[in-house]
Symmetry: C2
Subunit: 371 residues, 2 copies
């Protein structure tokens, strides 16, 4: 099935673009707003549309909804279909269990390849913030043009604005080419989350970019590299692909998936692949990894509080308060206070990354129904 | 009307004792558990019975329920009657507005005097914690015997255990007499809430006691002293008394009460009266003035938390958590987290005394319905 191309790439050449949106996360660090039954990507954390909806919305004009695939947990397939009525129901791909991003990307790639064996696919997490969607699309179009050559894996790197220890970094090498006005550079090295000293060093050196977790490549290239670098994953995917060719992949996915290696795209592919390009992005990006990320995007008051609750907040500084009920605070600082109507979290901001520990502790204490 | 005497005072001499329980407080510092519709004294903050019920319960054997009068806000009269079915309904005296403790005590004294013009009355706040009720009754019996002489106002002084700045202090003079094994001392001076340095000095000197707000006197003496020291209050009370003689004081109380001087017993009477005795109490006392008081009486965990909520509490120290819902905390210290199901308070412990400011701020912000 061919659909109307959505975007003109480069010098009048028309390409079809596909997007594989990764919507399998559990968003535990956003507990108690994020729940197992409705993780972060399905919440309206930033605006009137959910994170997933915003992810697809901002592809408008670049990727046709029929070219958007969503890979998500089996239990969220219906929710995704409800949230994205414009995306064909068959494009929502359920994973029976989470096997990290390499498997999810591989599964998405099978579906893209059935449309176009040499199609360019964008891999986009469903829960990122993008400040300037127009610029984002420009950079993606450049990345797609770079990927369309067929010789490179392409990723977007974010110009760092602080010595963030929660992100991976990419060392940018020399320029490769400019595509649609966006320069692609050789990606020399991927670095896992550094400590603060190292992160500060990266920031000072100026040639490091944050690893955005967004990838662009031709589907034939990624499939070949999966075959070379992750042969076990490749074997599993081939079984699923054979079932897809027969029209019904469900049972094969159920059978194969639990045995797939659990490895990320970054670790399994990007860090080991040759010929990776990185396009620096300057479109305002955040992975919205924890509650503290929201204060970068929500309105703050004069005392640097983010207040998503009615009430009074006396001598309260640097707090994030989100509750459907009325809240009063007095003499507190740097707290995350989030109430979903059923459960209440009070957490020091410095510990925002560890909210998933709370979720784990609740399960162990027999309160799994709250998570 | 005479009732069966409840207690033998001194050497075989039987006296009738009356109690006037002051239950007019608003308990704002216990918001959001304490509400205008149900202040602290009507809550089960310490045990299975409400503070008011415990106040009356612990008089068992000392004051007959028919000799117990409760002075409270007009709006709480029904609530008091529900909570104290053993106390005659007519003993529950409603104030149309709060005029501080001198007026409340004076109003109670009128009712006591109608039973016995020379009766001994105990004045007891409805919201205090008493650890050892048996010892408390012994000290009260001694105080009643001292008061029965008719020449002294008597108060209970609490042996201080910390340099508390939230209480008034009484300087104890020389011994006067011993009653039922309890020594009464001359009370030399009343001091308002001191600063920390002064409080520490009082503690070191050893002859200072906390002003418990509990008083014992003969009703004829207190009425005479009101006449001498608070003539304006006395005139109002006489009007009410005349109406009481006619059988129905309600309209007179409504008319007179708003014009009564707003002054405390301590300031209006005790600090200015001659011949005040103080009996040191060692029965475990606390005025339960704020949320932090509860940690002295509730069970604490190894990290000094008071946890009246289900949930998980990770790296949490010195916090008081009370909620009908599930709570999770992470990396927090010295917080009061109280949730009444409708409103949530998060307050630093050092600010516990200021919770009434929160109540005021809520009213000003248009959230008076939450207070």
């Amino acid at each position: 099935m061919r659909y109307k191309p959505g975007y003109a790439l480069g010098k009048g050449e028309m390409e079809l673009l596909y997007a594989v949106v990764l919507a399998g996360g559990r968003g535990e660090r956003f507990w108690p707003r994020s729940r197992e039954s409705c993780p972060k990507q399905f919440l309206k954390l930033l605006g009137e549309r959910t994170m997933l909806q915003q992810t697809v919305d901002r592809l408008a004009g670049l990727v046709d909804p029929e070219g958007v695939f969503i890979v998500t947990g089996m239990e969220y397939v219906d929710l995704v279909r409800q949230q994205l009525p414009g995306v064909p129901a068959g494009n929502v791909i359920g994973e029976p269990c989470g096997r990290d991003t390499a498997a999810a990307v591989g599964l998405g790639a099978l579906h893209v390849a059935r449309r176009d064996e040499r199609g360019v696919m964008l891999v986009l997490p469903a829960d990122h913030y993008i400040g300037d969607a127009r610029r984002f699309r420009q950079v993606l179009a450049g990345a797609a043009a770079a990927a369309a050559e067929g010789g490179h894996l392409v990723t977007l790197g974010i110009k760092p604005t602080r010595p963030e220890t929660g992100y991976g970094y990419i060392r940018r090498g020399g320029p490769y080419k400019t595509f649609s006005g966006v320069t692609a550079y050789l990606a020399e090295q991927f670095t896992e989350k550094p400590d603060l000293e190292r992160a500060a060093g990266f920031l000072a050196q100026g040639n490091y970019l944050w690893n955005s977790g967004m990838f662009i490549w031709r589907v034939d290239l990624i499939r070949r590299l999966i075959g070379e670098l992750l042969p076990e994953l490749d074997r599993g995917l081939r079984k699923i692909d054979a079932a897809l060719a027969g029209g019904e992949a469900g049972p094969a996915v159920e059978e194969v998936y639990p045995g797939l290696p659990k490895i990320s795209v970054d670790y399994g592919i990007m860090e080991r692949a040759p010929n990776v390009l990185v396009l620096p992005g300057d479109f305002g990006w955040d992975d919205v990894g924890s509650w503290t990320a929201l204060e970068r995007h929500w309105e703050t008051d004069a005392a640097n509080n983010v207040l998503d609750a009615r009430g009074v907040f006396l001598d309260t500084r640097g707090c994030l308060v989100s509750s459907p009920r009325h809240v009063a605070t007095l003499g507190v600082e740097d707290l995350i206070i989030v109430d979903n109507g059923e459960s209440l979290l009070v957490c020091h901001k410095d510990r925002a990354q560890e909210v998933k520990k709370v979720v784990q502790a609740l399960k162990e204490a027999g309160y799994g129904n709250l998570t």
